[in-house]
């Protein structure tokens, strides 16, 4: 199943400046694995120790995956993934 992924400015150096890419996957994790195959280096910017970095937000359509099943969140045809930097500080 092909899923479109909207890539943040910071990661576009990996995607040859492409803002939107299409990759395969039935879950968010599978999409990230496929992203890594097509655009090496992306994965470690997104996840570590099997979890999404706290500096990163990943959404399926309008929903932050932290409030769903995280990386195991299942995808349906037509879903879009958006990646954004998480903004926080002290």
């Amino acid at each position: 199943m092909s899923i479109s992924v909207i890539v943040p400015t910071l990661l576009r150096t990996f995607t040859q400046d492409k803002k939107r890419v299409e990759v395969q996957g039935n879950t968010v994790l599978e999409v990230i694995e496929h992203l890594e195959r097509d655009y090496p280096g992306v994965k470690e910017r997104l996840i570590g120790d099997g979890q999404v970095h706290r500096f990163v937000n990943i959404y399926v359509n309008d929903d932050d995956i932290r409030f769903a099943d995280n990386l195991a969140t299942a995808l349906k045809p037509g879903d879009a993934i958006t990646i954004l930097p998480a903004v926080a500080g002290g």
């Binding site: 400015t9 959404y59 309008d62 932050d64 998480a86 903004v87 926080a88 500080g89 002290g90």
Partner: protein, 135 residues
């Protein structure tokens, strides 16, 4: 150097004083590739804390989509310090991942000499910059 539309410094200060003793936060957008940060968007501090701020992820997604539709980019991320000077904290440096963003900090300490300062934070290295006001 950060180029900022006239009036926005005052708007950030006012918002920070209004939200004090909680930290306030927001962004200023600029037209893609444009020189001047023009449009202030106040964000909710989802942490509602006097010592920490975080954007609400859903609000952030809405705002970022809107930037995209308007051909704008996030040029400034600002937040307040309620009990310290306007200089990045260790948490600020840890979270500041974007070398293209100007990080503005507003201090709401009473009688502080310089209540707003702007920084670039690249590879965890903090560099202060001047703020240029554009009429």
């Amino acid at each position: 150097m950060l180029s900022l539309r006239v009036g926005l410094l005052e708007a950030m200060l006012e918002q920070a004083r209004r939200d004090h003793p909680l930290e306030t936060c927001g962004i200023i957008a600029a037209p893609l590739g444009g020189k001047v940060a023009e449009r202030l968007i106040a964000m909710e501090n989802a942490s509602r804390s006097p010592t920490f701020f975080s954007f609400d992820p859903r609000q952030q997604l809405r705002v970022w989509r809107e930037l995209d539709e308007r051909d704008e980019e996030c040029r400034v991320i600002y937040h307040s310090h309620t009990a310290s000077v306007a200089y990045p904290s260790a948490d600020d440096v840890r979270y500041a991942g974007d070398p293209s963003v100007h990080y503005v900090i507003v201090s709401t300490l009473p009688d502080i000499e310089v209540p707003i300062r702007s920084f670039r934070i690249i590879d965890h290295k903090v560099t202060e910059e001047s703020i240029y006001i554009v009429r």
